[in-house]
């Protein structure tokens, strides 16, 4: 079937229209956000609205950087998400390695139990978690957030990495061990390079989850200068007059990193789905 053929057949046309509707439904809100964020205050409230800004302006972004702590929030988000990724990946790769390479009693049971904890939504564990964090005395610190994300992301990271490790043949490792390499050397030089794509993909999923999170920040962080982007943007609604242009420009800036990463991992998504990586 040539593309031309498909296009002119009735069925092909119908599919094109449906796909176009789907594309508009999902992409248009984003387009509208971008368009609004470049409009001047006057243009935002023009009725009837128009699609493209007539005077292209960066004033919304200026206000965002000057009147709010957007940059601080941004730095916090980057710091917390990155640390959570590093910590989660360290624990998860070690855990996944032992779940696939060592034989011990109840190994499969542990693996399914880990998946089970994944069913708990944040709202159900947040209260005991908060009490615990208060008791340890690290409420209102980034450390609490990093630990929360690590605890929250570990189940699916472990599960996903376990699948990746399972696909690496044992024979490779055994060959290295026979050649006289210790286990550490075998892991670093043989397993790690092979598992790297999997670790990167899992790391990005963790990053997106930590970056997008709202509830943990809302509850664990009280100081304004420690907040991350989600809460920072949501708080912009607390102003007496809602500055839509500024909110839209903030929304656009917080979305960009996620979408960039998303484009990178798109091809892992199917594999990731199997292991339940896309939670929400």
């Amino acid at each position: 079937m040539t593309p031309k053929n498909t296009f002119f057949s009735l069925r092909g046309q119908a599919i094109y229209w449906c796909a176009a509707i789907l594309l508009v439904l999902t992409a248009f809100p984003f387009f509208w956000m971008i368009s609004t964020s470049f409009k001047s205050l006057r243009e935002i409230f023009v009725f009837p609205p128009y699609f493209f800004p007539k005077d292209f302006t960066l004033a919304n972004f200026d206000r965002l950087f000057e009147q709010t702590r957007f940059l601080t929030y941004f730095k916090n988000s980057v710091f917390v998400s990155t640390s959570a990724v590093v910590l989660t990946m360290t624990i998860a790769s070690a855990g996944a390695y032992s779940l696939t390479r060592f034989k011990f009693y109840g190994r499969e049971k542990i693996a399914s139990l880990i998946l089970f904890t994944y069913m708990f939504a944040p709202i159900m564990i947040i209260i005991p978690f908060y009490v615990l964090i208060r008791k340890i005395g690290i409420a209102n610190t980034h450390l609490a957030l990093i630990m929360a994300y690590t605890a929250f992301c570990l189940p699916f990271s472990l599960w996903l990495l376990r699948a990746f490790f399972q696909s690496i043949p044992m024979a490779l490792e055994e060959a290295a061990l026979t050649d006289g390499a210790g286990r550490i050397r075998a892991v670093i030089y043989v397993i790690f390079p092979l598992a790297l794509p999997g670790i990167i993909a899992t790391g990005i999923f963790t990053f997106i989850l930590a970056w997008n999170d709202y509830i943990f920040v809302r509850i664990l962080i009280t100081s304004d200068e420690l907040k991350t982007l989600s809460v920072g943007i949501a708080d912009l609604y607390n102003a007496t007059v809602i500055d839509w242009g500024m909110i839209m420009s903030g929304g656009m800036l917080i979305t960009i990193p996620v979408l960039v990463f998303f484009v990178f991992i798109q091809r892992y998504l199917i594999a990731g789905w199997g292991a339940g990586a896309v939670k929400g």
Binding site: Y16, K279, G280
Partner: protein
């Protein structure tokens, strides 16, 4: 009341997500130019922070300056602007936003499964004279059974315990009362009224309802065929 709002919210969003998600996956499974682009873009709503989904839609549904009201007025469907964040329409708005945000999950899962259905099955059905509808109901749907079972289960659990989308829409103000689902109620009791005991009780009740409904769900559907 919270249980009622929560049930309305989860049942309607799950139903719409599944229907829209399956239709979208069927479209994206067809061959057409630019398919990969559309496949990527359709997943966007699921990947972005919830707070972004909320600000996008709050702006689109704004009663005075929102595009949705403008379009509805221009097309003559309504005569006065609807107050989407008011008490009459807030649940509708919430459902629209949630379906938009979460249907890509269904698309992703169903699409992954659709790609593994052997084309031979369709050819056999064609030879036997089955029309498109017949092919969908007798070939595609039975093949999707298992994945739909899991998707409905996961989505129900996640929609029933969904907090951020519901909470961020009002942040405790305006018509918050009319979309106060169990997770929001538990949050407010714990962190606004400092009744952590009551909040935890609500969380346990949520857990109980979940366990009960998943058990029933498994009993009803799993016995008919293995997963």
């Amino acid at each position: 009341m919270s249980v009622w709002y929560g049930t309305v919210y989860s049942v309607s969003t799950i139903f719409l997500q599944i229907v829209i998600g399956v239709i979208a996956a069927l479209i994206l499974n067809e061959a057409f130019r630019g398919r990969n682009l559309v496949r990527g873009v359709v997943l966007f709503p699921y990947m972005i922070p919830t707070v972004v989904a909320i600000i996008l839609w709050k702006w689109l549904l704004n009663d005075q300056f929102g595009l949705v009201n403008y379009l509805l007025l221009a097309m003559g469907i309504i005569e006065t602007p609807l107050s989407w964040m008011g008490k009459d329409y807030i649940m509708t708005s919430l459902i629209i936003i949630s379906v938009w945000e979460f249907f890509p999950f269904v698309v992703l899962s169903v699409l992954a499964r659709l790609q593994t259905i052997p084309p031979a099955l369709y050819e056999a059905a064609k030879v036997d004279g089955a029309g498109a509808l017949n092919r969908f109901f007798h070939v595609t749907l039975p093949q999707l059974r298992n994945v739909l079972f899991v998707v409905i289960l996961l989505r129900s659990i996640w929609m029933f315990t969904k907090f951020d989308t519901v909470w961020l829409l009002t942040q405790g103000g305006g018509a918050e009362k009319y979309i106060r689902t169990l997770p929001v109620y538990a949050y407010m009791r714990t962190f606004m009224y400092y009744q952590a005991g009551l909040g935890s009780t609500l969380a346990v009740i949520m857990f109980g309802i979940l366990i009960a409904s998943t058990t029933v769900y498994f009993k009803m559907f799993r016995s008919e065929g293995e997963i």
